[in-house]
Symmetry: C2
């Protein structure tokens, strides 16, 4: 099992990335890591050289680079070389905390789509509040600005495969994100998608779900178009962050009383933060490609990298992508 | 100034509605209220009869009724009679906490659209965290399942009028909700809307805004299509509610320590809740109609009714709708 790592992607690269890889090595000593980037910088954080190969390159893609151009022009960039390793069969999966758009482009143009999958989408496992181990898989979170009803059905199948194989959920409940739960609700896109999802035999479609019920665990897999998915993801993140900061200032405004109260509630507040932290489920999968292509937040730290390596390990071990390739290649 | 009130709409009607009207009467003794619904039930909560007229009717629209059918068939329903009073000029505005779809239908089919406004939208003032009096006006929150770029420009104009006249904000910053801040981002709808908004002289367009920055006050007016607006609104509400309940259980899980901590933080937590409660800004306006048509949550209590009456009072006093009628009637 070989994972190609873009060691230069992300705000804290290469330190956070390499430190995370070192943590993951302890969990999974059998994984071989190919680290792409500046050798001297990467080496600083390599505490155990076993199963680590550094492939030196000076070039990297920055967060400001225009994605498609960057992929085409920066042919020696760490991300591009990592993607090419997957294409050539030298690695089984790629991981990056770098420029999301560029990774999407590298995934599409270098790793390549699974046959018959029209529009790979971005999928994350989001938290279910009140269930520390719970979560739901949502896609598309923004790989596409526009989707057709047929794409949403493919997302339902992809999400079902992921929830079953990687998250070990039997017959995962698939919900269609809509502006009401009634069958007749929605835009032209969601009405047609509802119809197609109802007819799809390989999934357990439970109907429409509303954005306000997502964090309560109303479904195991939630499908939506990339524009809406992106807006919903950012709304959830923005609201959670705003509330945490509101909580903090509300406490600080109370002076000594607030400090004392906060001290007593330290464990409770930490527990709350942990429950909201969905990086424990790993990163976002660009799903629908011939190999696992995984993205984490640019601000990712070593722990999140470690969780993501675990996720990739499970994806490779369960062969979820190879099974999808088989499923879709046999379709005509 | 006369307000037609659907006294039978909402989960706590008529009690919460009539009690709220009684509170509002103290703030605005000059408003005349027309209360539509069961006279004997309404009378129970009328503590001051001055400027109160009860128009008895036995019929009402329930939350399960199919909106358009209900409006057409239940011709004596409290909501329908209230809307007709506005149409006939017997009242200046209508307020209901009942079936949202039915109120939208009553607004469109009975009160009627402003000339040249194609698709009235639902607008609410949402909270800005860290600014107790701050807020942003967002529309369309779901009156339409589908919108054209031109509609979003009309929402920008409507929202600007509202922010200026009702909320007293000079040159309100108008943002387009999009999946990135760069000009080139988005779906076909948002790309075209961006272009049209940039050319609209009567607004202060600041470009694209992302859902994660809404609660930080990135814009005073945020425009989006009804499907996305609905999903974002529900994501924000759902996340805020989930977090409040997570905070509660996290505290309870800590036993005595948690209880003590919560006691010390009581004021802080209450302050936090108040800041999130956007009912202080009033209800949702079905905007683009010939008169103010205002909806509040079905679970609304007397205080929210009071805030909503204040909002309607400001809308009538500032003549925001009449000015919009003038603005749009002169367009050809």
């Amino acid at each position: 099992m070989k994972i190609a790592v873009d060691a230069m992607g992300g705000d804290n690269a290469p330190q956070a990335i390499v430190e995370g890889v070192m943590l993951a090595k302890k969990d999974f000593p059998e994984i071989e890591f190919l680290l792409y980037g500046k050798e001297t910088e990467i080496k600083k954080y390599v505490t155990d050289e076993k199963n680590i190969t550094i492939i030196h390159t000076d070039e990297k893609i920055s967060s400001d680079d225009e994605p498609v151009k960057a992929i085409r022009r920066k042919k020696e960039a760490s991300m591009v070389l990592a993607a090419q390793a997957v294409k050539k069969g030298e690695a089984d999966a790629i991981f990056s905390a770098g420029n999301t758009g560029a990774l999407l482009a590298a995934g599409l143009f270098i790793v390549g789509r699974i046959k018959n999958i029209e529009r790979p989408g971005l999928m994350s496992t989001m938290p279910v509040i009140g269930q520390p181990d719970g979560g739901f898989d949502m896609m598309d979170l923004g790989a596409n600005a526009e989707n057709k009803p047929e794409h949403l059905v493919q997302y339902a199948v992809l999400g079902t495969f992921y929830a079953e194989k990687v998250r070990d959920i039997k017959q995962p409940r698939v919900g269609l994100l809509n502006n009401g739960t009634e069958e007749t609700k929605g835009s032209e896109l969601t009405k047609k998608a509802f119809e197609l999802l109802s007819e799809e035999p390989s999934i357990n479609f439970i109907g429409n779900v509303e954005a306000r019920d997502l964090l309560s665990g109303v479904a195991d897999v939630v499908v939506t178009d990339g524009f809406t998915g992106n807006a919903v993801l950012k709304s959830i993140e923005g609201t959670a962050l705003s509330m945490m900061s509101l909580l903090k200032t509300s406490i600080l405004d109370e002076g000594l009383k607030g400090k004392l109260g906060a001290l007593l509630l330290k464990d409770a507040l930490r527990g709350m933060k942990n429950e909201l932290d969905y990086s424990k489920h790993g990163g976002a999968v660009l799903f629908g490609l011939k190999a696992p292509v995984i993205k984490t937040h640019g601000s990712t730290g070593p722990d999140a990298v470690r969780h993501t390596i675990r996720q990739i390990h499970t994806m490779l071990e369960t062969k979820v992508v190879s099974q999808l390739v088989e499923h879709y290649e046999n379709q005509e």
